[in-house]
């Protein structure tokens, strides 16, 4: 199927597709204790009011620089943390406040692929045992049925079945990530959070793993939240892209719109940093180079989080937090340049 057709279908589907995941005003603050009596002195606002929806069957890319809260956001959506505030709905079931014990029966629906395939596999378990663990926890299959299922999963992710009794350290990085993907697939989930699944792999293996993820999505109708800092890879795999900066989503748009007409100055700066493979097109003139460092998430600046580094900063940016609003259908931006509700509207 040509990509244009897929894109068309996706856009067609976008209007009718069901929201599988709805995240509203998600906040994940980690308390900071200090002093002799371990008093709470503040919060690290890793995720500070994030809202997005993920439609069934689509891939939502979540990009941003290191430390902006992407991974925390992914984990909070799966309720691997007890979130500070906000609502997370998966399949129309609110799980934001649900205690961990009641979440357990819902775990098969939502799974996660981790960033570091070395660290996310227990070195004391065989591949068989690792892939089988979800089955042990949530199904009552017999031993033979489980072994059969593990074999099928290993086939599905392109691992040799004969390696089932080996330990993770006997595999290469790409193979380990396949083990992690097989584990995530074991319970036929609908929604998978891919937390930088390719960041720890080299480029040739990245392509294999991403293609595997795409094939699996096509075959099994999976929905991905694809967290990455690799903008070209997100462009390849995602249908819509959300850009995060310091715990907030600054822009969310369909892929084409985001890459063609980025609105937020941060998105523009991010995109201008993507290397251009064609040397004749490189001019260097349109590079937006940000100065300074990311402010600490425990002490974000007043007003817009990006005001300390923004090339188009205005006075209002340092006073009032911009609202997150829909600029065009499906294109959300949080920036005073495009604010239409405030006193200082328009750009």
């Amino acid at each position: 199927m040509p990509p244009a057709l897929i894109r068309g279908l996706c856009q067609l589907l976008d209007n009718s597709a069901k929201k599988l995941v709805e995240v509203k005003d998600l906040k994940m603050h980690f308390p900071v204790y200090a002093g002799l009596f371990r008093r709470k002195v503040g919060d690290v606002k890793a995720v500070d009011g994030v809202s997005f929806d993920v439609y069934e069957g689509e891939t939502l890319g979540l990009v941003g620089e290191s430390g902006c809260g992407k991974s925390t956001c992914g984990r909070a959506v799966l309720r691997l943390y007890d979130i500070t505030n906000g609502s997370v709905k998966i399949n129309d079931i609110e799980i934001g406040e649900t205690p961990q014990s009641e979440l357990r029966p819902m775990r098969p629906e939502m799974q996660m692929v981790f960033q570091d395939p070395q660290a996310s596999l227990n070195p004391r378990m065989t591949v068989q045992a690792i892939i089988q663990e979800p089955l042990d926890e949530h199904t009552t299959l017999t031993k033979a049925e489980k072994a059969q299922k593990v074999g099928e999963l290993m086939d599905a992710v392109g691992l040799n079945r004969a390696f089932a009794k080996r330990y993770p350290q006997a595999f290469s990085g790409g193979q380990r990530q396949r083990i992690g993907i097989a584990r995530a697939l074991a319970l036929n989930p609908k929604f998978i959070v891919c937390d930088e699944p390719i960041a720890a792999l080299d480029v040739s293996i990245q392509a294999q793993v991403v293609n595997l993820l795409e094939d699996l999505q096509e075959q099994l109708g999976l929905t991905y939240l694809f967290i990455s800092h690799d903008l070209s890879m997100v462009r390849h795999i995602a249908d819509r892209v959300a850009v995060m900066y310091l715990g907030k989503v600054v822009e969310l748009a369909p892929r084409e719109a985001l890459y063609a007409t980025p609105k937020h100055p941060y998105t523009q700066a991010l995109l201008s940093a993507v290397p251009e493979p064609d040397p004749t097109k490189v001019t260097g003139a349109d590079r937006v180079v940000l100065t300074g460092d990311v402010p600490s998430p425990s002490n974000p600046p007043k007003g817009c989080n990006f005001c300390t580094r923004c090339p188009a900063v205005m006075d209002i940016c340092k006073q009032i937090e911009p609202t997150y609003q829909e600029l065009e259908p499906g294109h959300f931006v949080a920036c005073h340049l495009f604010e239409t509700t405030g006193e200082q509207g328009g750009s």
Binding site: P105, N122, R124, M125, H138, A162, Y167, Q169
Partner: protein, 326 residues
């Protein structure tokens, strides 16, 4: 992927463990010696003609057979072949000699070995179970951490010997009355040693659990919905195996030594009941004239402790799939 590869059943993991264990020469030799000593102390008393407590005053204070090597060059062979006519008091019937009451030291060594090893292994198991449980619970469940660690500190702060002394004084009579003299004291000894030596294990295990708990595979297990019990059994315990194994081997050694110390102080088993520590204690008074009476128990305690440490070292490597390699 060929059909043959699919059809071949994977190799049993325990063969890999054995292969790795074999490659550690010290561990292998130690295991052989350890097993040999265990077999001797288990089977020996059944076939050896002398009872460990039988006195034979005519044959008291016999030397051990190594005394032959103290003679002139020419006399050594004669002494070894026909000890009775060598001029010193040695006999093949009492290869390690006899004590001041004519009790055969070889029989006493074998019988004492049984007790010492039983005490060592049992006390180690008690300490290990206690220490691992306390360590895992306080490392994994944050709400118990403070209380359990302060309890550990409390036990560490207790002076060991006075505590053991008090325990022996308090519980010796009731336990002996309930279970019989030997069993009562055995229970008392292993419990006393066990509950006074679990603290280092608890601390090491807690530290490791705290580190492993933050690893991504634990998060992965949580995303699957693994319950705490399975999380501990499946993910945490196998990964703290190494420190537990080390604690175990040191624990056996420590327990044997503590038992010896207690027996040496006269707080352990009754005087006519041999253990290696007791034999050491009995031999000390005669050490000048008969050094073998402290030498043999001392050597065997050291050898057992050394063997156990080596075997533990080898086992730890063999059970770690990262070191084992494939």
């Amino acid at each position: 992927m060929t059909d043959a590869a699919v059809a071949k059943p994977p190799r049993n993991q325990w063969w890999d463990v054995w292969d790795q264990f074999k490659s550690h020469r010290g561990a292998l030799i130690s295991a052989v010696i350890f097993i040999a000593i265990i077999l001797i102390v288990l089977i020996g008393p059944m076939i050896w003609p002398y009872e460990p407590t039988k006195t034979d005053i005519r044959n008291k204070n016999m030397r051990h057979m190594l005394s032959c090597f103290g003679l002139d060059w020419g006399a050594i062979a004669g002494c070894l072949v026909n000890p009775t006519e060598s001029g010193i008091k040695v006999s093949w019937w009492h290869p390690l000699g006899t004590d001041q009451l004519g009790r055969d030291l070889f029989a006493r060594m074998m019988f004492g070995g049984r007790i010492s090893m039983a005490v060592g292994v049992t006390a180690m198991l008690i300490a290990l179970v206690l220490g691992t449980a306390v360590g895992v619970i306080s490392g994994y469940f944050k709400r118990f951490d403070w209380a359990l660690m302060r309890l550990t500190d409390l036990f560490l702060a207790l002076p060991l010997l006075p505590l053991l002394l008090v325990m022996v004084m308090l519980f010796r009579a009731p336990l002996s009355a309930t279970f019989g003299t030997e069993q009562g004291i055995f229970i008392l000894m292993v419990t006393a040693i066990g509950i006074t030596s679990w603290m280092p294990t608890a601390r090491i295990v807690r530290a490791d659990v705290l580190a492993i708990k933050e690893r991504e595979f634990v998060l992965a297990a949580r995303s699957i919905g693994t319950r705490p019990r399975k999380m501990i059994m499946r993910h945490l315990l196998p990964n703290v195996m190494s420190p537990i194994m080390v604690s175990a081997t040191l624990g056996i050694a420590n327990a044997i030594i503590t038992e010896s110390a207690l027996s040496f102080l006269g707080l352990g088993f009754p005087p006519d009941f041999p253990t290696w520590g007791r034999l050491l204690n009995d031999g000390v008074q005669y050490m000048q004239a008969y050094p073998e009476r402290v030498m043999w128990p001392g050597i065997f305690i050291s050898v057992i402790v050394l063997c156990v440490n080596y075997v533990g070292d080898g086992l730890r490597d063999a059970l770690d799939p990262r070191i084992r390699g494939l």
